[in-house]
């Protein structure tokens, strides 16, 4: 039988506000346990939540960037369940009236055709605390740190429009890019700022009804997302072909083994008894507010890609790669402003800069030891003929290591390209005199030896001889 997979994603994104969603406690990461807590986020009796306006600003921006409809009136609801990471006994979320609905993100399907993945809804909610399970053998307790409790999240729920693992990871990547471009989420998947759950089901091709789905949690990279979805697809098809049934359940992805595993199902876990939270007032958003947020939107990745291709003549792949991060795209534009050779700038970014960033595990070019001024300064020197492009690589490494400008590096290291014909001629003569046999062979027709001579001369000049001048002189002498 031919099977078709149906996938929907739920993405939780932490909003990078200074304070929590309903109280003034700091949201900074990595503090000592239970030092960023107050009566509200500890769930102490009588404490009342007050909504952080910035979370609403951020949510509206995400909605505008994903073409959602902003609800004129929305409200908060209590999602009731008992778990020690949730001191109130309920999570404040949104249920029947979310702030945003009916959005979309464009992807390309596996055949290369553009398609839209619908966004069902985006709502605001508070995060839960962190549970720590001491590893000492026989330990019969867990520890609770509530610093993360009440940290603002938005949950972005897609339509079940996704049909392959590739589409799923594309959608998630584009969403992450948008969040980062908007500056509302740092997108750090290792620290849990962006968490993805995948709902996966399969059905025979042609069948209208969806199959029973599983929900896989704990997926913290795009590669794992693809692996988890592929694994679920195979698992469910095998199960059905053997005459079994898929159970609706929550599963965890084990990234070491590349498999998903069923979680012990919490009894009655899905009976959340949502109801409107009487502690919070309805949220009314008027057109003026929406327009103000529209005015604050930066250029989004899709638009920027298109502009980089049309204005700077970059290839689609190059502009894709550079626009993956807003910082990198900014870096590119600033460098081009200083040295107007987009192709050369792009090549240095995709070559040396990305290589060294990877090597040092840098997430953002803003953390790299070099600036647009460094790269532009270096390219100016290449263009002026002061250094060759081979030497430029050496200059780059020095700039990266020391943070010094290209000009300073070139001067200190004496890397100025020699274009002085007499100086180069002296070196050419020296090399020819030292290799009389090769000169004979060359004259006898073995012209491939040209490369050998050039290599010797460049070595003698420590890479500083202008290659054009060397070639010209060498040819003249050998063929005279």
């Amino acid at each position: 039988m031919q099977w078709e997979m149906v996938v929907g994603l739920e993405v939780h994104a932490q909003m990078n506000t200074n304070t929590k969603i309903f109280c003034g406690c700091s949201t900074s990461f990595g503090s000592d346990p239970n030092t960023q807590v107050c009566p509200v986020c500890l769930g102490l009796p009588g404490a009342l939540p007050v909504l952080n306006k910035k979370v609403v600003d951020y949510a509206i921006k995400v909605g505008l960037a994903t073409e959602c409809k902003v609800a004129g009136m929305s409200r908060f609801a209590r999602k009731n369940y008992f778990y020690p990471d949730l001191p109130k006994g309920y999570q404040i979320s949104q249920f029947e009236l979310p702030i945003l609905e009916f959005g979309r993100i464009g992807v390309v399907d596996d055949e290369g055709n553009p398609k839209d993945i619908g966004i069902t809804r985006i709502h605001m909610e508070e995060d839960a605390g962190k549970l720590i399970h001491p590893e000492t053998p026989g330990c019969n307790y867990s520890l609770v740190d509530l610093n993360r409790a009440c940290v603002p999240l938005i949950e972005i729920v897609s339509e079940p429009d996704i049909r392959s693992a590739k589409e799923a990871s594309q959608y998630a990547k584009k969403l992450r890019e948008i969040l980062i471009y908007l500056g509302v989420c740092d997108g750090n998947m290792n620290e849990g700022s962006l968490r993805i759950d995948a709902n996966v089901s399969v059905r025979p091709v042609g069948q209208k009804e969806f199959g029973t789905r599983s929900e896989t949690k704990n997926v913290n990279s795009f590669r794992f997302l693809e692996q988890a979805i592929e694994y679920e697809r195979e698992r469910q098809i095998d199960l059905l072909e053997e005459g079994g049934v898929v159970v609706q359940e929550t599963r965890l992805f084990d990234s070491v083994k590349g498999v998903t595993k069923g979680m012990r199902s919490k009894e009655e876990a899905h009976d959340y008894r949502y109801f409107p939270d009487p502690d919070l007032l309805p949220l009314v958003i008027d057109d003026e507010w929406i327009e103000r947020m529209k005015g604050e939107l930066p250029e989004l990745p899709e638009a920027r890609r298109a502009r980089f291709t049309s204005d700077f003549g970059l290839s689609g792949d190059d502009s894709d790669l550079i626009c993956q991060s807003r910082d990198m795209a900014d870096f590119f534009e600033q460098t081009v402003k200083l040295h107007n050779d987009p192709k050369a700038v792009a090549n240095w970014i995709m070559g040396s800069i990305m290589r060294d960033m990877n090597k040092e595990g840098l997430e953002s070019v803003a953390d790299a030891p070099i600036t647009p001024e460094h790269i532009a300064g270096m390219l100016d020197l290449v263009k002026a003929g002061t250094i060759s492009s081979t030497i430029a690589k050496e200059v780059f490494d020095h700039m990266w290591a020391t943070g010094k400008s290209a000009r300073d590096v070139v001067e200190e290291k004496g890397l100025v390209q020699v274009t002085d014909t007499s100086e180069i001629e002296a070196i050419v003569d020296k090399i020819l005199a030292a290799n009389p046999d090769e000169v004979e062979q060359y004259k006898g027709g073995k012209t491939k030896l040209m490369g050998f001579f050039v290599g010797q001369i460049m070595r003698e000049s420590r890479g500083k001889a202008n290659p054009g001048v060397v070639n010209q002189l060498l040819k003249a002498k050998l063929e005279s």
């Binding site: 720590i132 520890l143 740190d145 965890l252 979680m263 007032l281 009314v284």
Partner: protein, 97 residues
């Protein structure tokens, strides 16, 4: 409206309450009576009346995104039945598996 003892026990489990069979029986009658009373609202003609969003006729209360002092750790844990390493200590929780 008839509320069964099973429904009472289900809600009790969700609320982490424990009832004897007699209590469940008694509460099923009481809960049924309460729901019957509320049921009276359905006799009203609400054609054209928008659902109420909140008992107060007020919307939009916000805080600015400014950090306020938090509790010191000792104070946060003051009412905790048990604590360790600055954390609340609770019965072991088994996740996943």
């Amino acid at each position: 409206m008839k509320i069964t003892t099973d429904q009472v026990l289900h809600v009790a489990r969700l609320a982490r309450l424990e009832f004897t069979a007699e209590e469940a029986e008694k509460f099923s009658g009481q809960m049924g009576a309460i729901l019957d009373y509320v049921e009276k609202l359905n006799e009203l003609d609400l054609e054209g009346v928008a659902p109420m969003a909140h008992v107060h006729d007020v919307v939009n209360a916000f805080r600015e995104d400014e950090v306020r002092p938090s509790f010191a750790n000792e104070r946060a844990l003051k009412n905790a039945p048990d604590s360790e390493d600055g954390c609340f200590k609770v019965a072991k929780i088994i996740e996943g598996a």
